[in-house]
Amino acid sequence: MSDIPSTAMPATAKVVVIGAGIVGNCLVGHLADLGWTDMVLIDKGPLPNPGGSTGHASNFIFPVDHNKEMALLGVQSANQYRDLGLSVDSGGIEVARTQERWDELQRRMTSAMAWGVEAHLLTPEQVTELVPFVNDEIILGGFYCPSVSVVDSLETGTVMRRKAQDKGVLEVFANTEVLDIETEPTPHNGLSKVTAVVTDKGRIEAEYVVVACGVWSNRVANMAGATIPLVPAVHQMADVGPIDILAETNNEIGYPIVRDMDTFCYERQSAGSMEVGSYAHRPILHHPDEIPSNAEAALSPTEMPFTPDDFDEQMEQAIELMDMLGDAEIKYAINGLLSLTPDAMPCLGETTEVANLWSAAAVWVKEGPGMAQVVAEWMTHGYPRVIDAHGADVARFYDWERNDEHIWARAEEHFNKTYGIVHPAEQWASRRGLVKGAVYDRQEAAQAEFYEARGWERPQWYNSNADLVERYDLGPRDTEWDNRWWSPITIGEHLNLRENCGVVDLSAFQIYDLSGPGAVEFAERLAVNKVDKPVGSSVYTPWLNNDGGFHSDLTMMRIAEDTVRIVTGVFDGGRDRFWVLKHLPADGSVTFTDRTRDLTTLGLWGPKAPEVLSQLTGHDLSQSGSPYGSYLDIELDLPGGPAAVKLFRISYVGDTGWEIYADWDHGGAIWDALFDAGRDHGIRPTGGGVYGSSGRMEKGYRLMGAELESEYDPVEAGLARPRVKAADFIGKEAYLAARERGPLAKMCTLTVENLTDAEGRERWMQGGNEPILTADGERIEDGHGRVSRVTSAAYGPSVGKHLLLGYLPPDLAEVGTDLQVMYMHERFPVKVAAVDGSVFDPDDTRLKT
């Protein structure tokens, strides 16, 4: 079949996919494989190259990334190109000009081990053995991946599209522009639902619409009242040649691709020429309206006129690395457009504003086929199966992350980090202070070091606690990298909390109330554990997807006969909110209310916490008066008058205490009263370094998005209760099967037994997917092919060990098992210290005293 378009546009279709780039084409191919029929693919440009970013992509895949989703979907995509025979393994080398980059390449080796990608470190001479035209005098060495590949993305798109056409399940309309996307309201959840796509060739009623429009995606989604937060950004590329040594290969690609990482450039052979691409120039962003039409574009709409002044420095650097480039002619140079998002991750999944309107955007050629598979599976099964994709879920964005001001600022900030050395804990510099907690001014006065979480400012530690470093005889770590985005103050805050008590700001908790006659039944449907308990009870529970993997992990409280409160983390709030709204009963029996900005939460924990709090209330705060896992509605006596609060006896840090829920406006007064009451009890403001890391990890508490992902089930995570509730819930069938089957991996706490590296420095793993290895240094995969890797890491001050969390196959998940962990390409001995349990106070005696 050819690309001659179908002549008459159908009046209806099951699915309309807008955009015939690598993503849209692969999507219809994958949907066809999954049994979808009655599909329409449209693009405003001609086929096979409609003029989007796919048409000018450099088409190479470096399979190693520190981010799990990007790395594994890159590998998955590379394999799909390979399976179609539309890929060549050229190999690729990242060269280092600086010591800092050379250290980063050690980290790349570590990630390569994690993802099972063959990689080697090369001396400068070894680099020139593979690429003789590299100047080996200016590099310290290289990181070589033989499986770096060059792909034919246009032909892959064509093959995938034709596969669906040949099955008779797809009609294709090129040169067809979308004018509108129609929706109808869905009153029960306040959203809307997609109904039709209006084009210049006719209107199609559709059950599903997918926006796979690359740089135009947000504009197209806006037609339906939805947002896909991305911005078109320039990536400059020049094709220079002819160059004899390249032409002599008689090949599209005969030499490994070179990434000159310190200059943020790459050199990629293209037949007799070299493509020099740059992520080093100033960020150049465009509004979609500034992109020319196909007719107005001299080349293609996304190949905008080259601005050479922005590229000159990169030319000098390229000549420095490969002298032969200096005398090569610049035959073709573009300001090529690609998509950037506010957090450098793609936008996949159903849009949160319009039901059945899906996003498959901000995806580059290197991960296109894999990400298309994610979306196809998501549409088919209700959740992707190939990988957990929470980092790419378009529902992750809050409203304040969806406007141009934010998208542009963050895109401008991270564009130059494309080849940058990005620390796992690295913080954003732009658009700070978007959302401040209720006691932000007090925290500022206490010299809080704020970390940002999806716009919310949260103290990581307080510099006013610097004296604790001396009190507990603490000091910095041995290397700059391990000290970056870290302070020994956080250890001091931890030890003080264990000895005295600390106050943690939890304002960023996302709080949603379900109310109405159907609320409890609906809540039961969401949660694995039983919610239908007496008013005053709470339940810590997973929410599962249909496959039985984690969607969420959170707390639910029965706050009235007909009201259930959901408390979840700020990184998950957007996704959880959308999950609730999407599943909300259509009969109107449940009302959803976002209480996040009405209520603030302060945590008070530590052995002195009961003494401190008892100064503000006469209520019995003992275990019998305020039992663990339940809450009290009481009033605190504050100097300015009483304040109604919920005192929730719970702990994420391993010491007794409460989460105190109060009206937002009372936050400051409660903070002040707690510090007045605790003055003689060693009370200290305490940051997220304790709450989210050291305190949590000493207790082995899991974190959604780190330990808990859709790829794992509660049995594997050690979160399965002894019994299963009678009520039905999403994922129950799969959950029962998982219980029956038993775990293929188990969540474990490991202790690092020796932190000293070959240079005699103590090194501190960051929790950035470092691979956990056998005692012999071999990579570990479980029966599902999931790699054992560090999901979280923190020093446990109360146990005196550096702690790692990670899944291990059952035969290795035994306390006392000796293993290794790789960090910065060195192996360190570790020991399994706990399986489904805590290394600190394993009997939880401190929680319930």
Partner: protein, 258 residues
């Protein structure tokens, strides 16, 4: 033999795409436009560079245009021009007479300072307004011979031989030097700049020649977008399925008898 050659160029919108006229009809939309040198002039420049490469000498490139025309001068330097002269305008349209007057004045100043040009090359016509006049007017004002439509140049000791294509073959002219030629695309294949050439061009000296010539002349009334040509292509079908329709059409055209 060392040659001193002047090439006159003009900054024009890059061709290859639909160029939209602004709502007031007074200019073109530049948001999506790249700018370039007229293709004929690119050939003129290439020829000048080749002649000096072969014979020694200097290529001077001169443009009358807005400050942004520096981009075209630097490009010329990146492919081998030695000296750059910008005669700045305020961006308004200059008619061919005024342009020629200004260029003549600028050329005379250049020659007074740096010696006479052995050869002055123009593009046959500009890619945007296509007036076909400026070169002729300048040559006339300088009192030098000119031939237009040139696709071949040979420089002799005292003269220059220029060739232009005509229907039946070619015409060959021998002109005494100094001479002026209007050249056409096809004269040669212009080179692209090398990366080193581009970098060197950034450092090339650019002379701004302020002239006391009044702007204007012709007044622009309005630009109008030509009607787009409607494609008459009709798809008759795909592969064997198209056969019947093709036969029907051929019969309709009388190519086949039914």
């Amino acid at each position: 033999m060392s040659l001193r050659i002047l090439v006159c160029v003009k900054r024009v919108p890059a061709p290859g795409a639909r160029i939209n006229v602004t709502d007031d009809g007074q200019s073109v939309e530049t948001a999506h436009l790249g700018f370039t040198t007229s293709p004929h002039e690119e050939c003129a420049l290439e020829e000048a560079v080749q002649l000096t490469e072969a014979n020694g000498g200097t290529v001077v490139v001169l443009t009358l245009g807005p400050p942004e025309a520096e981009e075209q001068l630097r490009y010329a330097a990146s492919v081998g021009a030695h000296e750059l002269v910008l005669v700045p305008t305020d961006g308004t349209a200059w008619d061919p007479q005024r342009t020629a007057t200004a260029l003549t004045e600028a050329i005379e100043a250049q020659e007074a300072a740096g010696g006479a040009f052995d050869l002055i090359l123009f593009g046959n016509e500009s890619a945007d307004s296509g007036g076909f006049q400026v070169g002729v007017r300048v040559a006339r004002a300088l009192g030098r011979p000119i031939v237009n439509g040139i696709k071949g140049i040979e420089v002799g000791a005292e003269s220059v031989t220029a060739r232009r294509a005509v229907d039946a073959g070619s015409e060959v002219y021998e002109l005494p030097r100094p001479a002026v030629l209007g050249v056409k695309e096809g004269l040669n294949l212009p080179r692209y700049p090398t990366m080193r050439g581009r970098l060197a061009s950034k450092k090339a000296e650019l002379v701004t020649a302020e002239l006391d010539v009044e702007a204007g002349g012709q007044r622009l009334v309005a630009l109008r977008q030509p009607e787009e040509q409607v494609s008459n292509t009709e798809l008759l079908g795909d592969s064997p399925a198209a056969a019947t329709a093709v036969v029907d059409l051929l019969e309709e055209l009388g190519v086949l008898e039914s």
